[in-house]
């Protein structure tokens, strides 16, 4: 979890517990709105009393018990029929805060699956996950995704109503659906990371924190599903990508390509953790696209320089990745690795079908890869044209400037 400036220890503890409290109540009441209201009341009560009484020995238990009681009160006040098991109700009400989490178990996995349900629109899945699992505020999510706060709040209200009325339960899916649904959850976490990773320049400060949130989510998912190799692969990939964060932009905020990054600024702790998580995942012998990408990132992380990188191995890994995920974007990345391993002409051969298909005509990295390969192969004129195309198609202003510079210099 990102602990930016101004985030106190108390606030951080709050956010660590938020998802667990919301999950417990949502599952028992089948209603995310009721869970959120009760959790918010409990957290407000904590904020009012803890600074004077001190943080209780089991803050999570205290928050859960308090939220539970608030929810029961609200439930009764609304005169709703008890959808909650009466036995559990009395057990929980009588429980001391220390025993509460043990009694209820960890419901966060069910909450994550509900928030990432494919019946919800993708941007809604992302917003729900960040709000209820990661504990970001509506304001923070709206700022990160550059949408007005009322718009985002309205989206969340509609999503909660759909979850309640359409019968999306806060449960781990049945075995037959688990693989597919888990892939959907991983995709949401990966998208959150990429939103932060792609952000540069003026927006970078806020949006960069999305990377930390995604890593926090991936770590949680890995803790809840330690035996799943691809979930571990996702966590490893995010840690390894994030290890380069400090070197990815220069002091003026301009992006620095991998080849020119100051490797001493890479985060050794993140690299060590990512590599170790990846090794454990690979030992399970259940390969997948996240593990392959993490393995590629690990080879980059282990290399002393761009030229002195194990390119043949990276090219092989991209070959395996292309078989699992035959998308043109993977082919573009593979062409760069093959170009380094077997020479620019071999790289251009990989790129040929992608260019011919026209599928990625507006994708700037395609033209940048093409330009670099043409340059190395000794076609400066054609390289100039490709650099120009790369600059024209780039959506990131800072990157566009850099590409124009290369176009001028080529």
């Amino acid at each position: 979890m990102a602990a930016g400036p101004g985030v106190t220890g108390l606030e951080r503890a709050f956010r660590e517990e938020w998802g667990a409290v919301v999950a417990t109540l949502a599952r028992r009441f089948g209603d995310l709105q009721a869970a959120e209201d009760a959790a918010a009341e409990a957290f407000a009560a904590a904020a009012a009393t803890w600074p004077e009484t001190g943080v209780p020995p089991n803050p999570g238990g205290w928050l859960t018990v308090t939220a539970w009681r608030k929810a029961i009160d609200a439930h009764r006040a609304a005169g709703r029929a008890a959808a909650v098991d009466p036995q559990l109700l009395s057990d929980v009400t009588a429980a001391e805060e220390a025993e509460m989490p043990d009694l209820l178990g960890d419901d966060r996995l069910g909450l994550i699956f509900a928030c990432c349900h494919p019946a919800l629109a993708l941007e809604v899945r992302i917003a729900l996950t960040l709000r209820y699992v990661a504990g970001l505020t509506t304001k923070e999510i709206a700022a990160a995704f550059l949408v007005p706060e009322p718009t985002l709040a309205q989206r969340l209200v509609r999503a909660k109503r759909k979850i309640r009325e359409s019968g999306i339960h806060f449960e781990v899916p049945a075995a037959a659906r688990l693989t597919e649904r888990l892939a959907g959850v991983r995709a949401v976490v990966y998208l959150v990371f990429n939103e932060g990773f792609a952000a540069t320049g003026a927006d970078g400060l806020i949006r960069g924190e999305l990377c930390e949130e995604a890593i926090w989510l991936a770590r949680l998912l890995h803790t809840l599903l330690p035996a799943d190799a691809e979930t571990a692969g996702l966590l490893a990939l995010l840690l390894l990508h994030h290890s380069r964060a400090a070197a990815r932009t220069d002091s003026a905020g301009k992006p620095v390509p991998l080849a020119e990054q100051d490797r001493s600024r890479w985060n050794a702790a993140l690299i060590a953790e990512g590599t170790s998580v990846l090794d454990e995942a690979l030992a399970r012998r259940s390969p997948g696209t996240y593990q392959l990408q993490a393995a590629i990132a690990a080879l980059h992380a282990a290399a002393p320089s761009f030229d002195d990188t194990d390119w043949p191995q990276i090219a092989l890994l991209y070959g395996s990745l292309a078989r699992l995920d035959p998308s043109p974007v993977v082919a573009v990345n593979r062409s760069v690795a093959v170009g380094m391993a077997d020479g620019p002409l071999a790289g251009l051969a990989v790129l040929e079908p992608v260019l011919a298909s026209g599928a990625l005509e507006g994708y700037s990295p395609l033209h940048a890869a093409h330009a670099a390969l043409l340059e190395k192969a000794g076609y400066p004129e054609r390289a100039r044209g490709a650099w120009a195309k790369a600059a024209q198609t780039s959506a990131v202003p800072a990157l566009r400037e850099e590409l124009f510079r290369r176009h001028e210099n080529s």
Partner: protein, 127 residues
């Protein structure tokens, strides 16, 4: 929970009429829709199912103040037509989506899944 699985199709009235003729002439106890309906019945989830005539044959009653205006045609002219539905009772949306996915619909058709409201006062009449 009760769910309606609403089957929408872009078939024109002519195409639909031809398919309906074939559907009546098919051997009893055979065909993908027979199998699907039997499976839902055997699983104990089926509450009801109807196949509707084409929207081209629809008649609409429009309410405007005290007036009740009868018009020829559907409520709204759309490319896709509601041509039938299944009403099922299953534990949650995932189970309802599974039954929707199993439907032997044609390419280009869509099945809309809608949960039924519960606890409404008027529903007590149904017993």
């Amino acid at each position: 929970m009760k769910y309606a699985l609403l089957i929408y199709s872009p078939a024109t009235a002519e195409e639909y009429a031809a398919a309906a003729t074939a559907g009546r002439q098919a051997a009893p106890g055979k065909g993908p829709w027979t199998d699907y309906t039997q499976a839902a019945k055997d699983a104990g989830v089926l509450l009801g199912a109807e196949q509707l005539t084409h929207t081209e044959t629809a008649t609409s009653v429009r309410f405007a103040g005290e007036d009740r205006l009868i018009t020829d045609g559907p409520f709204m002219e759309t490319k896709e037509h509601l041509l039938g539905f299944y009403l099922i009772d299953v534990p949650d949306l995932d189970a309802a989506l599974d039954w929707a996915r199993r439907m032997p619909v044609h390419d280009g058709q869509t099945v809309e899944v809608r949960a039924a409201m519960t606890g409404m006062a008027w529903q007590r009449v149904l017993g």
